[in-house]
């Protein structure tokens, strides 16, 4: 019965696509504007002339710049990210392999952050100015101020080094003594996920809280909250049903900023925990000057954000009937 405004969605899809095009172009510009040429870093003195020539050719460096650009854009849109010199496979394959692993970490932290954050924000916004609000808010800001890798180390020190409860690296047990079934694998992944998830979420929820708190506080002034009280509803119902539901609307639009923040945390955390995802990949690629991989990894993460943003747009239309019926914006 509730139909989502097709026009609104169409608009968001067009914007998303344009965004991806611009990100691709940006990548192209960034790489070609490198001091010297970016392939110098891939060439070592042992290479033969032919080898060097072949690299130049695969990168199309002999073509005029605009042809290179067109070719680059076509390749990227068809999912052809070139070949990696260090991993010596097609970059796209590498991406496909790494993406699900990263999604597990990104996705779970996103979910945890966007459950905890709005809940705490709701509570603080409702009681804004109270002593509880002041102390919880300033402590969450302290959490928000912690370097993510540092807090991860502290967690490892406590839960792994000191207590020995949880593993401190990798996604799977390296030499498992159990049978590989879907269940054991899942359990094993969750076991390895625990600390990285805790580390990113420890900081990541604050972003959502920072949006929810003032939003909730604004909503308490609204006429419908007053009316809900006048109807004799309990404070709890007024807060949860009438206030929080409306206060969530800006959180959905702000979710994308928080998502980017969580991704930043996750990229660092992947490196701390040797989680074999995109974050680890992009850092390794950059350090080993494997530009095809770095470039593609960056693009995939950006695309992930764009897709997530489309998703939050849908959530947004669900939350706000004014958009759902194509009348707001």
């Amino acid at each position: 019965m509730t139909r989502i405004s097709g026009r609104y969605l169409a608009k968001r899809i067009v914007v998303s696509y344009l965004t991806l095009l611009v990100i691709m172009s940006l990548l192209f510009v960034l790489l070609r504007s490198m001091p010297g040429s970016f392939i110098t870093s891939m060439i070592n003195p042992q290479m033969t002339r032919e080898q060097i020539e072949r690299i130049r050719e695969t990168w199309g460096l002999n073509e005029p710049l605009w042809r290179q650009y067109v070719q680059f854009m076509i390749n990227y849109q068809t999912g052809d990210f070139g070949r990696s010199p260090t991993y010596s496979t097609a970059v796209s394959e590498l991406m496909l392999r790494r993406l699900p692993r990263t999604l597990i970490l990104f996705g779970s932290t996103f979910i945890v952050g966007y459950i905890v954050g709005p809940l705490v924000g709701m509570y603080l916004g409702w009681w804004r100015g109270s002593n509880k609000d002041k102390s919880i808010f300033s402590s969450s800001l302290l959490m928000y101020s912690m370097p993510s890798f540092w807090i991860a180390w502290l967690f490892i020190w406590l839960f792994n080094y000191h207590l020995g409860w949880l593993p401190s690296s990798y996604m799977f047990t390296q030499f498992p003594e159990f049978e590989w079934t879907a269940f054991t694998v899942m359990r094993d992944v969750l076991y390895h996920l625990a600390l990285p998830l805790l580390s990113v979420s420890f900081i990541g929820w604050v972003g959502a809280m920072l949006i929810m708190r003032p939003s909730m506080n604004n909503v308490t002034e609204e006429g419908y909250v007053f009316l809900a009280r006048a109807k004799g509803l309990s404070e709890r119902t007024v807060m949860l049903k009438h206030a929080a539901r409306n206060a969530l609307i800006p959180v959905a639009t702000g979710a994308i900023v928080g998502l980017a923040f969580i991704i930043d945390g996750a990229v660092v955390i992947e490196n701390v925990f040797s989680w074999p995802g995109m974050g680890q990949l992009i850092v390794n690629a950059v350090l080993s000057r494997d530009f095809p991989v770095a470039q593609a990894a960056f693009f995939v993460i950006a695309a992930l954000i764009v897709v997530m943003r489309l998703f939050t747009d849908v959530v947004y239309t669900y939350l706000d009937p004014r958009i759902k019926f194509g009348e707001g914006e």
């Binding site: 026009r7 169409a10 608009k11 067009v14 914007v15």
Partner: protein, 460 residues
């Protein structure tokens, strides 16, 4: 107030239109969305004589504020011309524009928003002098500012000079705003609801101040308000606006004691009065003001009008025609269909729908008895004096609606339920001392009565 036309008018507004395009983003353009401008002011003409106070009245969204802002050049008109002191204000040279900015000022509605919270009273009032290079020195500006502050009743001025707006009361703020407008000694001041945010006991003081300053400074006012009693108190002449049109203009007393346009009539009927005694007549208008983004065709008021004009060959009563027109409008707005009736009349669902569609959304005193009995959900068909062809058309339409075919329903009504008010915009015409934009008056009016009050409901 009449008969002053031999003087040169200070402000002449000729057929001015102002459309606000809702901005079209790049993406909307790509997706081919139709732009739908808001027709804020839609063809308004009038003149203001020197020294007069002319009132602009109307409900929210009628375009009165936009009109005011057009006159002070805050907006550029989309169409039409505005002349100030004989000069068209759209093509002023820089020098002329400076002069214009000195001679024309505006006072805004909300005294809590019209003063910059980070500027002192002195800085606020001084600013127009500074911008227009009107005083040579700081001391001179200070002297002038003090003088004006005392003129507007904020004396001794020294107390106020260094105050910030949030330290002042609403009445004091509005006086500061007036001082700011008057500090450059203007000729023409547009006052946009200057007292609507003020408490009643303070209002009169500001209004009387404005009247006094008019004499002292030789001002001409355009006084915008939704409050008709204020218009009456302040203005010799007035114009009533509805959806961007000035539907009636003339001497205020005449408009109020004997409104010509059906909308003016409804508007004045609706004003409650402290004078107790006889029950006041309620406003005879259906529904609410439609969106200015998509205004009705012809006379903008015809969908709500009590005196909407039936076609020449209409043999029934005017009330019956008004009801039939309401039926048609409900079909157009998709406000009627099998789901809007409760289906209690299983024997004749078509008749039920017709009787539902013919009801009027008006105060009780204008409803028929059968309407009252059903709580406004049905009207007895026999009590509506419909011509037979109209009756047939309505039944055809209702049948089509019950069958789910809205277009066929509209087709059935087409040509039968039709009115000049819907087809043509009424050009302004003279009625007594006023100019009225209504088909009831003038040559082409068929059922015009001079008072503008048409026949009472048909049961009589």
């Amino acid at each position: 107030m009449d008969g002053t036309d031999d003087r040169e008018p200070l402000v002449e507004v000729e057929n001015v239109r102002k459309l606000f395009d809702l901005s079209q983003g790049i993406v909307d353009t790509v997706l081919g969305r139709e732009p739908q401008p808001v027709r804020a002011v839609d063809g308004v003409s009038f003149e203001i004589q020197r020294g007069d106070t002319i009132g602009i009245a109307g409900e929210s969204g009628c375009g009165k504020t936009t009109l005011g802002k057009l006159l002070v050049k805050l907006y550029e008109p989309t169409e039409g011309t505005i002349r100030f002191d004989g000069r068209e204000i759209t093509d002023l040279t820089n020098e002329e524009e400076r002069e214009f900015r000195q001679r024309v000022q505006m006072i805004f509605q909300d005294p809590f928003e019209s003063l910059n919270p980070r500027m002192t009273v002195f800085n606020t009032v001084e600013e127009p002098l500074k911008i227009n290079d009107m005083a040579d020195s700081y001391d001179e500006r200070r002297r002038r500012v003090k003088e004006v502050l005392e003129d507007v009743g904020l004396g001794p001025a020294d107390v106020y000079l260094d105050a910030f707006p949030d330290e002042l009361s609403g009445g004091e703020r509005q006086r500061v705003a007036i001082a700011r407008a008057l500090v450059v000694d203007p000729d023409f001041v547009v006052c946009d609801e200057p007292v609507s945010m003020l408490d009643v006991s303070i209002r009169a003081g500001v209004l009387n101040l404005m009247k006094r300053l008019q004499d002292e400074y030789g001002l001409t006012y355009l006084f915008i308000s939704h409050d008709l009693s204020l218009i009456r108190y302040m203005c010799g002449r007035a114009g009533i606006m509805y959806l961007g049109n000035m539907i009636e203009k003339g001497p205020t007393d005449d408009i109020i004691t004997d409104p010509k346009h059906p909308y003016s009539e409804a508007l004045f009927d609706a004003v409650p009065d402290v004078a107790l005694g006889d029950e006041r007549r309620r406003a005879n208008a259906t529904g609410e003001v439609p969106s200015p983004r998509n205004p009705p065709s012809g006379c903008r008021y015809h969908p709500r009008c009590a005196h909407v004009i039936p076609p020449d060959d209409w043999t029934g009563s005017q009330d019956a025609f008004r009801r039939a027109l309401q039926f048609k409008l409900k079909v157009e707005r998709s406000d009627i269909g099998p789901e809007t009736v409760d289906g209690s009349d299983t024997s004749d669902p078509t008749r039920e729908l017709v009787e539902h569609g013919l009801t009027l959304d008006v105060p009780e005193e204008y409803r028929s008895e059968t309407e009252m009995e059903t709580g406004g959900s049905r009207v007895d068909l026999t009590a509506v004096d419909l011509p037979s062809d109209a009756r047939e058309a309505l039944f055809d339409a209702a049948e089509a609606l019950n069958g789910g075919d809205r277009d066929a329903a509209l087709g059935a009504l087409d040509g039968v339920v039709t009115t000049v008010c819907e087809r043509e915009y009424p050009e302004p015409r003279t009625a007594g001392s006023r100019s009225v934009e209504c088909h009831l008056y003038g040559d082409d009016a068929t059922s015009a009565t001079d008072s503008g009050v048409a026949a009472a409901p048909t049961e009589d």
